[in-house]
């Protein structure tokens, strides 16, 4: 009987696919399997691509190709004068997906918004711990528990988020993937059915695509949602062909097995660009690769030593050797040039090995620890390679660098320790386009022990960080973060290395794809040439 049922279901699915033989299909060779389809509990970009950016929407959303916000599920919003209350006016008539496993009886309303947030912070919510070991890491990491006091339904189409204290990046935070809105009606049904875990495996959202099927570690299938509140997307079927190996991904694109792929090997970029069947889009990434000096331990607790060590490194040569020509831009500020408040007046870092040698000799610096990890990151394709180049530059000024290579997760534990000596290579990719997401997250005193690998606690910088969060006027905020860049340039807590370019090779039949500085992969504005 079970076999018969499976066969019937499968026949229906095959028929559905056959019916869509002439449909517009886009195949995305994704880089990894999603952990699940609940964006509130996810942490990886591939998890968000597969859920938040296809199936779900948020109250506010990032515009395509940028970090500016636009209306999402909320048509508009008001922020109270004291910055403590955010009132959102929901788009009327927003439909949830109708699938083989759920038929909604109502449109989106304020209950869904309240539920989507409360499940992340209220321990008594049935969906707070609906999976074994449920975690809401992004909600925690963005310090939302400290800021959000409550989420209140005003009426069916109005919802209010009340804060404990003003927080200017809050709106940008609400545009992030973890703040995706799920259906309360569906969640209630799952609880009644005794299968709450299906919220993470059989998702229902309001997004441009509805979930069809996931074959573990192999293929995810989506279909265009005909009643999408922003209008049905141009493609009919979206397929994620999971291909973790970069070379295999590239070969699949070349063989026409997929239409678009992320994260090509830097060394393949030129040959991909030369292929007449392909287009390779690129964009400056919202990222930074840098090297943190421990500002609390000798010799790097001395700002002159830090500046001299940075001065000894030929940054343009390092960046070109590491990323290849044109694949990254040498950094002079922590934030990339595409981000608002970027200080164009910051001077380029001086490369002067002679002067550096004099200073370091005068300070008696002859040895230093230099840290590298085994993992390639978009902001640094090889920590080992960059360490070797820096080691050579420092040797030329009389400083012997000892390279410590450590496995990636252990690396970050060791790097965050206050007694870790020397220079530690690391980097960051932005979450929401707000400068606070770089400055405070990476160099704020609160991040000492986690991501402030310089163990840097500068009073002036801290004051600016606090002011930046409280200030609501964008121009004044920009001035605050510009000042923060001046402080960093003066104090040199880190050697700022590069902002890497991100590439997206695709078949020429893919039309309208927009590169995203947050490295999101979104297909709601994509068309496929027939």
């Amino acid at each position: 009987m079970k076999l018969m049922k499976t066969l019937l279901t499968a026949t229906a699915l095959v028929a559905m696919m056959a019916g869509s033989a002439y449909s517009k299909q886009l195949i995305f060779c994704s880089e990894a399997s999603p952990k699940h389809f609940d964006p509130a509990m996810a942490t990886g970009g591939n998890d968000f691509d597969a859920s938040a950016r296809t199936i779900y929407n948020r109250l506010v959303e990032f515009k395509h190709g940028g970090t500016d916000l636009e209306p999402g599920l909320a048509d508009s919003w008001d922020i109270s004068a004291d910055g403590l209350e955010y009132t959102f006016h929901l788009h009327p008539g927003t439909k949830f997906h109708t699938t083989s496993y759920f038929t909604p009886t109502r449109d989106l309303n304020a209950d869904d918004i309240v539920f989507s947030f409360e499940r992340q912070f209220k321990a008594d919510n049935p969906f707070h711990a609906y999976l074994q070991d449920s975690q809401y890491e992004y909600y925690e990491a963005m310090a939302m528990p400290a800021y959000i006091k409550e989420v209140v339904k005003v009426d069916d189409l109005t919802v209010k988020i009340v804060l404990n204290s003003p927080n200017s990046p809050m709106l940008a935070n609400l545009g992030m993937d973890f703040a995706s809105i799920v259906s309360k009606e569906y969640a209630d049904k799952l609880v009644a059915d005794g299968h709450p875990e299906q919220l993470a495996s059989a998702p229902i959202g309001t997004g441009p695509f509805q979930f069809v099927d996931y074959q573990l570690d192999s293929v995810i299938r989506y279909a265009a949602f005909p009643d999408y509140f922003k209008g049905k997307v141009k493609i009919d079927d979206l397929i994620f062909a999971i291909t973790p190996d970069t070379t295999a991904r590239t070969q699949r694109l070349l063989a026409g097995e997929c239409d678009i792929m992320p994260y090509p090997n830097p060394q393949d970029i030129e040959s991909l660009k030369a292929n007449t069947n392909l287009t390779v889009l690129d964009q400056a990434g919202l990222n930074i690769g840098y090297m943190s000096y421990n500002t609390t331990l000798a010799p790097t607790n001395d700002v002159e030593v830090r500046k001299a060590l940075s001065m000894a490194i030929n940054k343009p040569a390092l960046v070109e050797a590491l990323f290849g020509k044109g694949n990254a831009e040498p950094a002079k500020n922590l934030i990339p040039p595409t981000m608002w408040s970027y200080d164009t007046a910051t001077p380029e870092g001086e490369y002067n090995p002679t002067k550096a040698k004099e200073i370091l000799a005068a300070k008696g610096v002859t040895e230093i620890e230099l840290w590298a990890s085994d993992r390639a990151r978009s902001y640094n394709p090889s920590f080992a390679r960059s360490a070797e180049i820096i080691q050579q530059d420092w040797a030329a000024v009389g400083v012997k660098a000892t390279i410590h290579t450590v496995e990636w997760t252990q690396y970050r534990i060791d790097g965050a320790k206050a007694d870790r000596p020397g220079a530690f290579q690391i980097g960051w990719g932005g979450d929401n386009g707000d400068p606070d997401n770089f400055f405070a997250v990476l160099f704020g005193a609160a991040a000492i022990g986690t991501q402030n690998y310089s163990i840097w606690n500068n009073e002036e910088f801290e004051g600016l960080m606090k002011a930046g969060v409280l200030e609501t006027d964008p121009a004044k905020r920009a001035a605050i973060y510009t000042k923060a860049q001046e402080v960093m340039t003066r104090e040199e807590p880190a050697f700022l290395m590069a902002h890497s370019t991100i590439y997206m090779p695709m078949s020429k039949k893919v039309l309208g794809y927009t590169m995203d500085p947050l490295a999101m992969h979104r297909f709601d504005n994509v068309d496929v040439a027939e």
């Binding site: 076999l3 499976t6 066969l7 279901t9 499968a10 026949t11 699915l13 095959v14 696919m17 990894a32 399997s33 952990k35 699940h36 509990m41 942490t43 990886g44 074994q132 070991d133 449920s134 975690q135 890491e137 925690e140 990491a141 875990e197 993470a200 495996s201 099927d213 074959q215 573990l216 570690d217 192999s218 293929v219 299938r221 397929i239 062909a241 999971i242 291909t243 973790p244 190996d245 070379t247 295999a248 070969q251 699949r252 070349l254 063989a255 097995e257 496995e407 990636w408 997760t409 252990q410 970050r412 534990i413 965050a416 960051w428 990719g429 979450d431 997250v441 022990g449 986690t450 991501q451």
Partner: protein, 335 residues
């Protein structure tokens, strides 16, 4: 025979204990931290980290964690993946058919070519054919799987377009798995195009995975054949005027196959090991890739239980081979 079976079962228990200790211990010896590996780029605060350590039970002494794990396994609970939150056994059962299907085809490829090559080399001992075949087998044995796989992909998939680059079946074919074996499911649905696509998808991964076992089987067959062909009963058969084909095919091969069967059984372990690389190159959604990903994520539950489940399967196959061996060769069970 019954006593022999009991003896073999008796050996399984200490082996299993050894495997649980190794899989549990090795994954913890790898540098790295499961909590940080799973928390993504941004890490977690010290307070949150401490909270999670307690939640996952990593604060307990290792022996306590081990006995807790063993207790769960004995109750049929292989734990939940730290990354996906899904039961390990559920993921294993979804992915295992892909590995088995690939391994079966790889073994068919290895046996179908390995045994005739070994026989031919033995019959033509010392000739250029023998040297050529055994030289090729040595090359096959020494071939780095990753390099071999990429070479075949570039030639047959990207350049000639004969086979797919990766995956188990063309993306235009979509049906819910019944058995999890694409070749069987496509037949059950009566979709012959899908069957053809599944077969085409199997060609390159099977060749890559089957190359090393092929070399081993060919060499083992050759040496077993040479040994048997020097035996008195073979000489007698020849002296009686039997045709060479009959002597080799009936009298020699039958006896030479005994060690070859054992070798084939042992190749199951090799196939499981090779599947890790093959599945990575061909984006094959099997347990090899699953385990590698889990090692990268420091997903302790998946690594320790996944390895245990794989070991159980390998042991079961070896047990069957041993029993088969005892059936073929009565001297084994007497000893």
């Amino acid at each position: 025979m019954f006593r022999y079976i009991l003896q073999r079962f008796g050996l399984i228990i200490p082996t299993l204990i050894g495997i649980t200790i190794c899989s549990f211990g090795f994954v913890r010896l790898i540098p790295g931290d499961p909590i940080l590996a799973l928390s993504g780029e941004r890490g977690v605060s010290a307070a949150r980290y401490a909270e999670l350590v307690i939640k996952y039970g990593f604060d307990k002494p290792l022996y306590e964690q081990y006995f807790r794990y063993i207790g769960q396994v004995l109750h049929g609970d292989f734990g939940n993946s730290l990354a996906t939150h899904r039961p390990v056994i559920e993921e294993f059962l979804k992915l295992f058919p892909a590995t088995i299907e690939l391994s079966i085809f790889a073994l068919i490829f290895a046996v179908a070519l390995g045994i005739p090559a070994g026989i031919f080399a033995a019959v033509k001992r010392g000739s250029w054919i023998d040297q050529g075949l055994m030289g090729t087998a040595l090359v096959g044995y020494s071939m780095p799987i990753f390099w071999w796989g990429l070479l075949l992909i570039i030639l047959f998939s990207t350049t000639l377009g004969w086979t797919p680059v990766s995956g188990r079946i063309g993306l235009s074919f979509f049906f819910k798995p019944i058995t999890g074996f694409m070749t069987i499911d496509s037949v059950l649905y009566g979709n012959w195009k899908a069957f053809g696509s599944a077969l085409r998808s199997l060609i390159l991964p099977s060749i890559v995975l089957g190359t090393i076992p092929l070399a081993v089987i060919a060499r083992q067959t050759r040496s077993a054949m040479l040994e048997v062909m020097g035996e008195d009963y073979v000489r007698t058969a020849r002296a009686k005027g039997l045709k060479s084909r009959r002597v080799i095919g009936l009298h020699a091969l039958r006896n030479a196959l005994i060690p070859v069967v054992t070798t084939i059984g042992l190749q199951v372990g090799v196939l499981m090991g090779g599947a890790i690389l093959t599945e990575t190159i061909f984006s094959w959604p099997g347990i090899g890739r699953w385990l590698v990903d889990s090692i990268y994520k420091r997903d302790y539950a998946v690594v320790q239980s996944g390895l245990l489940l794989v070991a159980l399967i390998v042991m079961a196959v070896n047990l069957i081979v041993d029993l088969l061996y005892a059936t073929i060769n009565p001297r084994i069970r007497v000893q």
